[in-house]
Each structure stands twice: as C-alpha cells, then as structure tokens.
C-alpha cells in the first residue's frame, strides 16, 4: 500500500489540474500525453507483459475510433457509451488477429501484425459504403450535456482533459491489476519459457488471448477518445504504421512491462515530439527513432526501469533484452 501513495497523489493532482491551469495549449499537451499513456499502456499489456511485440496496434486504435464516431454520427449514441463500445469492438477485432498472429513467433509475429494492420487500413480506405473511404467521418456538433447544472462547453479543453484522465487512470489501474494477478504471473511464465509454462498446466493460448483482448480494449478506448477530441477520423489518421510504431516506442523507451513506463515514455516523447512539431511541422518523430535506438543500446529497461533501479536499487519490470528467449521456437 506504500507504493499506492505516490500514484494516488498523482491521480488527484492530475484530476485537479484544470482547476489551476487554464492555458489551452498546455492542457492540449497534457491531453496528448495522457492519450499516449493510455495507448502505450495498451500496447505494453501485450508487448511488455505477454512479450508479444505487435507492430499493428493502430488497427485496434482505429477500430475504436471508427466505431465510436460512426455510432455517434449514424445512431446518435453519446460518447460515454460510444467509447466503451469502441473498446469492446477493438477487443473483438483483436481476437481474429491474435488467432492468426499467435501461430507465429518472434519477429514473424510482429511482421504479421503489421501486415494485418495494413489490411485493415486498406479495407477502411476502400470499403466506401461503410467507412466513407478516404473521406472519413467528421463530427460537427457534440451532444448538449449538463453536468451538475452547468452545460458542458465542448470548445474548452477541460471536459476532454477530464475524460482522458479518467480513461488513462482506468488503463493504469487495469495494467497494475494485470501485473499482480494470476494471469500476470502466467504471462511472466510464458515469457520465461513458453513450453515449460504449458507443461506446468498453464493454458498459454487462453492467457495470450485474454491479454490481447485487454490490450485491444484499452487501445480502442484511446481510439474512441481520439474520435471525440479531434472530431475527424479517416484511414490515414488512425490506421497508419507510424501510429503503431509510436505506441511501441513510447512503451519501450518508457519501460517495457512496467506500469509507469508508458507514462514516462509518453511524457518524454510527446513533449519532445510536440515541441519539434511546433517548430518544424514535419519530422517530429525523429527523436522517437533516436531515443528508441538509445534505449535499446543503453537502457533496455526503459527510463522508468532505470529510474527505479537508481532509486530502489532493484529491477522493476523487464526490458526485452533482459528477458528470456522471446518465443524463439
């Protein structure tokens, strides 16, 4: 319980921030950081805990985004229903993807997820009757809502900030819960030696599938939020390879297999990325690439892991390099 204290304080501070800070750009930056924390956590659940490195998570994010926006525009379903449904749809999409990808190991698993994400993108791009093709969907009006008597001002950042904070807290709690559950222990076993895990009675397929579903759900939540915050969804915005890779980088630079890793990674990379983007408009991912390379070379346990080692004097989480055979057949 001692360890929960800093997290609780952090959560309270995060929730209370809009009372103190009103600068829209800063709040926007925080929203982005939080969204990427959620997405990084989603990826980390599968990549860090289950040791399955996916290069196709954008497909799950995008499914959440499309589901939420389509439900709103075509069925009038409000975001607080639409976003969770988006999460569920993303989780459901993850299952057939997993069915195929889990039959492969190591780099081949990763490449197959990339191929499948591209297929999803191409379907979205071309199935115009359903997805509007390259045109995508645009939200012009958000639902009139009153909370505690005051109308919510959708032009301000505050409502979105609070929404993403709650979603991200959910993601972090879910990640923490997984890590300390029996399923989390099973995932460690699978990472250490999958054959041995199976031999001692662990249903490795079920463990991986459940983890994938959770990972997809969280990614889908992020996608749903994206749809409502940015109000525009098209295949190039929500399904590109670069987005999948961003999720990977944030989790890895932050700290694979840790709860706090994606948060640190998101703060670090998003802050730098947005600064570069503001200055140069393009090429803002250059530091993502650079820090990924630096992390793998010098800090495989990620920034969070390194900080923890310095502070607590022991390992927290495992970098890809430090783990055992990563599913090499």
């Amino acid at each position: 319980m001692r360890r929960a204290a800093p997290w609780t304080i952090g959560a309270a501070a995060a929730l209370g921030l809009p009372l103190v800070v009103h600068d829209p750009f800063f709040l926007h930056l925080c929203i982005l950081v939080l969204m990427w924390t959620l997405l990084g956590s989603a990826w980390n659940v599968l990549g860090g805990f289950a040791g399955q490195v996916s290069f196709g998570h954008a497909s799950l994010f995008g499914m959440g985004a499309y589901t939420t926006i389509m439900l709103y525009l075509q069925a009038g379903i409000a975001p607080w229903w639409g976003i969770p449904i988006g999460g569920v749809v993303a989780a459901a999409t993850a299952l057939p993807i997993g069915l195929i990808a889990f039959r492969l190991r190591g780099p081949y698993f990763s490449l197959s997820t990339l191929a499948m994400a591209e297929i999803v993108r191409l379907v979205a791009l071309n199935w115009e009757e359903v997805t509007n093709g390259p045109v995508g969907f645009l939200i012009t009006d958000l639902p009139p809502v009153r909370i505690l008597g005051t109308a919510v001002n959708w032009e301000a950042k505050e409502p979105f900030y609070l929404a993403i904070t709650l979603l991200t807290l959910l993601g972090l709690v879910a990640t923490y819960g997984l890590k300390h559950s029996r399923l989390g222990a099973y995932l460690v076993a699978i990472r250490e030696n999958e054959d041995a895990a199976e031999a001692v009675g662990i249903d490795t397929v079920r463990a991986k599938v459940l983890t994938l579903a959770l990972s997809g759900f969280l990614a889908g939540l992020g996608g749903g939020f994206y749809a409502f915050y940015f109000r525009y969804v098209d295949p190039d915005a929500v399904f590109p390879i670069a987005l999948s890779m961003e999720m990977v980088f944030i989790a890895m630079v932050g700290g694979l297999g840790t709860v706090g890793g994606p948060l640190v990674g998101a703060v670090f990379l998003t802050a730098i990325g947005e600064t570069v983007r503001a200055r140069f408009q393009v090429g803002h991912l250059v530091f993502y690439g650079l820090f990924m390379m630096l992390a793998i070379r010098y800090m495989p346990e990620g920034i969070w892991g390194r900080l923890h080692r310095l502070v607590a004097g022991r390992w927290q989480g495992r970098g890809v390099a430090a783990g055992g055979p990563r599913g090499a057949a």
């Binding site: 030696n193 031999a199 495992r318």
Partner: protein, 240 residues
C-alpha cells in the same frame, strides 16, 4: 485397468516414421523404464502422450479417458506431468516462483499455491534454495527443480525424460533414490533413460523401443538378455 494405455500410437514427420504402431501400458504404482537406442522415438512418445505433438494415429488413454488432441496444459490438468530432457526452468524467477507457477492452475490464490509449491520443494530438498534464481542453480539442482515443478502440479503419473543425463555416478544414485521414493508416495513413473544402472535398479518393467516400435518388454534383467534388444543397441556380430 491400466493407468496409462497406449494403443497403435503412430506419428509421421513427413516421410519419417518416428513412432509406428506402438502399444504399451503402465500399471498404477509401477516404475516403467522406456529405453532404446538414440533416435528410437522415446522423447517423441513423451511428446505425444503429453500433447506437445499430435499423433498421426492411435489412442492414448489415461485413467480410461482419451487424451488424444489435448494440449499440454490440459494433459497436466488431468494428472500427467513431465520433465524435459534439456531442463526448462523459468530462468529469471526464483525457485519458489518456479514451483508456485506450477501450483497456480490448481490453486487460484497465491497463498495456497505457494504453500503447495513449498511442499513440493521440500520433497525435492530444495527448500533452502527457495529464493535463489533458477538460472543460478547447478544442473543437479535444476533437475530437482524440474521434478519439484512437476510434483507441484499434483500428478498421478510422472513422465521423466532422461533425468540422469549429465549427472555423475553418485548423483545418479541420489536421483534413483528420489524416483523410488516418489513411487512410494503413490506416484506412477515412466522413465526414459540411457543410464542403464538407473533403469536396472529401479524399474519394475522395461519397454524397449527401436525405430518407433516396441521390440521387447518385461522385467529389466530379462529384457537386457533379449537378442533383439542386443542387436538393436550393438548391431549384429559380423558373419552371424
């Protein structure tokens, strides 16, 4: 009814017949030795029985129920545990964590699982090493851990794949002693082994496999005299 019954077990890998129409049974409470020259198919038999490989044909029945098509975790859940020829510990985890993971599938709460795991470690004499990382154990200790993990799954049948491999003479004696003691607690054991001393001293019966087929069966002393077995291992005398 035999505890484990294998009938007509066959497995092809492409054009290679690794196991061909194998029949044997294992009776409750016995120690069965499974021997044969290298490449005879012994580990494949284990892989078939424990679900790591699917049979091309044949039947495998444990306690009367078929196990064909079950994945390894389900086989373990039925009560059949195995060790591996090349030990497969969870290297980054402690000895206790290794065993606890094996107990988890039957005991959802960590406390219960740990308790059962500790008991298994105790039986294998590994209790003092509970907090040591598995990767830091000696080979003999890792083999004990492998067995402790298997025991933590609460099996009724234990399949040991060359447990004596890499052990020196006195370690072999210790290991043989451990296996006998396990049987005394009610476990049934099938032992694949090359170390003849161990097989001879502890097996009740021996099944000899060559080219995936059974070529002899019976008490160890008798099987070792069998001419078919001798020629399988050593070849025929020139001109005989």
């Amino acid at each position: 009814m035999a505890l484990l019954e294998v009938r007509g077990l066959t497995r092809h890998f492409g054009g290679l017949r690794a196991v061909a129409g194998l029949d044997f049974s294992v009776e409750q409470g016995e120690i069965l030795g499974l021997i044969g020259p290298n490449g005879a198919g012994k580990t494949t038999v284990f892989n078939l029985v424990t679900g790591f490989v699917r049979p091309t044909a044949g039947e495998i029945r444990f306690e009367g129920r078929s196990m064909v098509g079950l994945r390894p975790h389900a086989v373990t859940a039925r009560g059949v545990a195995r060790t591996f020829q090349v030990v497969k510990p969870f290297p980054g985890l402690t000895v206790l964590e290794n065993a606890t993971l094996a107990a988890f599938p039957r005991h959802a709460r960590r406390r219960d699982a740990e308790a059962h795991a500790a008991e298994a470690l105790d039986r294998m004499g590994l209790a003092p090493k509970a907090r040591i990382l598995a990767s830091q154990l000696t080979l003999m200790e890792q083999k004990r851990l492998e067995m402790a993990r298997a025991l933590a799954t609460e099996p009724r049948l234990l399949l040991l794949d060359e447990p004596m491999g890499g052990l020196n003479a006195s370690e072999v004696d210790v290991a043989s002693e451990i296996v006998s003691r396990l049987r005394a607690t009610g476990l049934t054991v099938v032992l694949v082994e090359h170390v003849m001393k161990a097989i001879m001293s502890i097996s009740d019966r021996v099944v000899v496999i060559h080219h995936g087929e059974k070529i002899a069966e019976g008490p160890p002393a008798q099987v070792v005299q069998d001419s078919g077995v001798i020629s399988a291992y050593f070849g025929r005398r020139a001109g005989a």
